[in-house]
Structures are given as C-alpha cells and as structure tokens.
C-alpha cells in the first residue's frame, strides 16, 4: 500500500508530485480505496486533494455553475445554487450508490473514474459540463464530451488535478433515469439523461451502453416539431447504443430499457409532464424518477 500525501495548496501539490513516482489522487476514496485494497491498481503515493482550497468552492455566476472537486453528491444535493434547472445533475447525485456513500463520493471522482455506468456522466453531458484541470504547466478546460476515452479511461495526464466541474447557466427541462437490479446501491444496468433547453436545444446521453457514456446532440428542435420527430429521435438513440452482456444485464435488456427511457423522456417533453414537479430541497430526491 502506498504512502500518503496531503497538500494544502496547489503549489505544494505540484511540488509533491515531482519525482515521487506514481501518485493517485484521493477524493472520497469510494472507487480508489476499493481498487487499491483489491490490488486491482497500485501506486507509490495517494494524494488527498480535499484540503486544497481551490477544490472547495461552489459558485453560481451570471454565466456558469462551478462545483469544486471536493464536493460530494450529498453536498451538491443540499446546495441551493444547484437549482431545478440542473435537475439531471440533482437526480443523478441522488441515484448514485446510497446515502452513506454519497457523504464521501464526489462528482469529480465519478467523472475521473470514468466508468461507462457512472451515474453523473450522462447528466453532466446533457448539461454541457466541462472540467478544469491544473498541473505545474498551467490550467486547461476540457469539455466532458471530449473527456472519456474508454472503460475507466480519460484524457487527463497523470499529474493533472481536476479543480472543478463547470456548467453553463441554463434554463430548461431535464431528467436522469437509472435502471438497476435492486433497490439498494448498484451501478446502472442502463441510464438515460435528457435535457431540453428553453431555446429548443435537445441533448440525450446514455450510460452503460458503450465503452464510454454516449452523448447525442440533436440541435434545436422547436417544441411544435417534437411529436413529428419522436420516432427519428428514438431510433437515433437506439442505433447509437452498443451495449454488451455482462453480470448486470443482457445486451437485449439494455437496448430495450434504453429505448423505453428515451421514449419516456421524449413523451414527457411532449405532454409537458417532464420537469414540472421537481422536488427541492430534497432528502428523498426524485426517488420515483430515478429508479424506474
């Protein structure tokens, strides 16, 4: 097992990374510590990044919502800044694992872990999320649609620390639907997030149907045209999904449920039922909506 580093500034973190062998970053540890203990991964050092101040801020500005990398799912659910316009993000936060793990599990840990079934990923994709990563070479912003490269693979360099996730300010209606085997904690068998911006821009994203989460950007579809284009949208989603059969579900089941969820989202947008009764602040957030 590795050594333990706990910098309190970014500069200290960069200095500690220099020449120390392989270092893995620790947020909530709910992926990292499980993998380390299983021996599935190894490293020379674990660096707890939660005491770096840049990772602890959550800000709503005129243009963006910025969520620091140390923010847990439960903290995001309790944050008044994360309003009902970010419903997919709220619902995914509430659907991840269970309330105990959500006290530790972070949004950025879920993103960096890059599991194709990670709950936050489809939600972040439809809300046009990006991450800001920093290293001794400087900062860069990476759109999440360009972030995931394979199962548990992403474009980060080993020395890049994600500081925050950034979403544009938006208005619209959206949701996150997750199918899982049991009522308790379980990764998604399949999941679908949808967001229909008030300007008519429609985005859908699917989890657990390919080696990375899938984003489908339909551009602007005026509300009056949604009924006529319903079938085309659903077929486009079905054609993009390339699931496999594994312990959680068969390929056929994933395809069928992915289609069903897509239909529910589009029909909810057409008949106006989607996104109207968003409950917040929520202790039992959108339970019916997330475990269909």
């Amino acid at each position: 097992m590795p050594g333990f580093l706990q910098p309190t500034t970014l500069e200290e973190a960069f200095a500690l990374l220099d020449g120390k062998g392989e270092t893995r970053f620790l947020a909530g540890g709910t992926d990292l510590l499980v993998l380390l203990r299983l021996g599935a991964i190894s490293c020379d050092n674990v660096m707890d990044v939660k005491r770096i101040p840049e990772l602890s801020t959550l800000r709503l500005t005129d243009e963006t919502l910025e969520i620091g990398a140390a923010w847990t799912c439960n903290q995001i659910l309790a944050a008044p800044e994360v309003g009902s316009e970010y419903a997919p993000l709220r619902q995914a936060s509430a659907a991840l694992a269970n309330s105990l793990l959500r006290n530790r599990a972070t949004l950025v840990g879920n993103i960096c872990n890059a599991s194709p079934g990670g709950d936050m990923l489809p939600a972040c994709l439809v809300l046009e999320g990006s991450v800001v990563a920093a290293s001794s070479r400087g900062e860069r912003t990476i759109a999440l649609k360009d972030f995931f490269t394979g199962v548990k693979k992403n474009v980060l360099k080993p020395d890049e620390i994600v500081l925050r996730t950034v979403f544009p300010r938006t208005q619209g209606r959206g949701t996150y639907l997750k199918k899982k085997r049991i009522h308790g904690h379980d990764l998604a068998q399949v999941s679908v997030a949808g967001f229909y911006a008030d300007d008519g821009h429609l985005r859908l994203a699917l989890g657990a149907v390919a080696i990375t989460p899938l984003l489908l950007d339909f551009g602007v579809i005026p509300a009056a045209e949604l009924p006529a284009r319903r079938t085309e949208i659903i077929e486009a989603v079905a054609a993009a999904a390339k699931p496999i059969t594994d312990v959680r579900a068969s390929r056929e089941y994933r395809l069928a449920m992915g289609r069903l969820f897509t239909e529910r989202i589009i029909d909810g947008l057409i008949d106006g039922s989607l996104g109207l009764a968003e409950d917040r602040p929520c202790t039992t957030p959108a339970r019916e909506a997330v475990t269909a």
């Binding site: 499980v34 939660k50 309330s99 308790g184 202790t283 039992t284």
Partner: protein
Amino acid sequence: MNTRPIHLTVNNQGYEVLVPEDATLLELLREEIGLTGTKEGCGAGECGACTVILNGKPVNSCLVMALECEGASVRTIEGENADGELSDLQKAFIEHNAFQCGFCTPGMIMSARALLDTNPDPTHDEIKEAMEGNLCRCTGYEAIIAAIEAVGGIQK
C-alpha cells in the same frame, strides 16, 4: 510501512496515535485505539458495518484513510453509552428485537444517530433512505426501522 502521528477526537476524547500511512479509519479505531465496537464486514463500502460519524456525517470507515482524519471529530458505537447507560437507540433496538447476531448493529445505530441528530422526527421513507447503506443478514429491516421510528417519536 512508515507510521505518522495523528490527532483526533473520538467520542469527545482526544487521541494522539501513531498510524501506518496506509491505515484506514476503521483500522485506526480498532487496532490503534482499541475501540472494537465498529465492525469490518466487507472492507469495500458494500455493507455499512463499519459506519461511524465523521465530523457530523455517517461514513464507511473502511473507505476513509486514517491520515485524512487529522483534527477530525469521530463518533463510534462506544460513544452511545458513554455515561454508563444504554442510549435511547440502543434501548429501542433491544425493545424492538432489531438485531440477532448484532454484527451490523453498531453501524446501524451510527447511521440512525446521524439521521436523528439532523432530523429528530424522520418519516418512514427518510429512515429508509438514511439506512440504505447498512445491510443486515439476519433480522430484516422492519424491526430496525421500527426501533428508529420509536426514538424519533413517530406513531406507527
């Protein structure tokens, strides 16, 4: 493996202990401090037997590194009867037959305690949500929920 000193408060008592750099909070509590009430079931976040309250929030102590807890305040099952008498939750668990082997009970009680601290009168659904990370292989969950409801003062 290197050891490092850590300072923390457990059940309102201050400790300064040397821990291996790779120890978990669970190992710190059980092996360094000697509080063996907190249990290890799976060691992987699945069962909740290791639940303790860390800075006011219930967490799986098997997935927290000990050195993360410098300066932290931790509450464990041993803090429930600190004054020599069983706590309200402990008594309610006995009254409602809410355990059999008892292995999950320390974790159950810590999750329930954290809930009641922030929400003294939780609904049935709020209790279910707060307890969803704590698994019991013997008792079933109705008796456990009933015990927590009784302390929350809810009429069944």
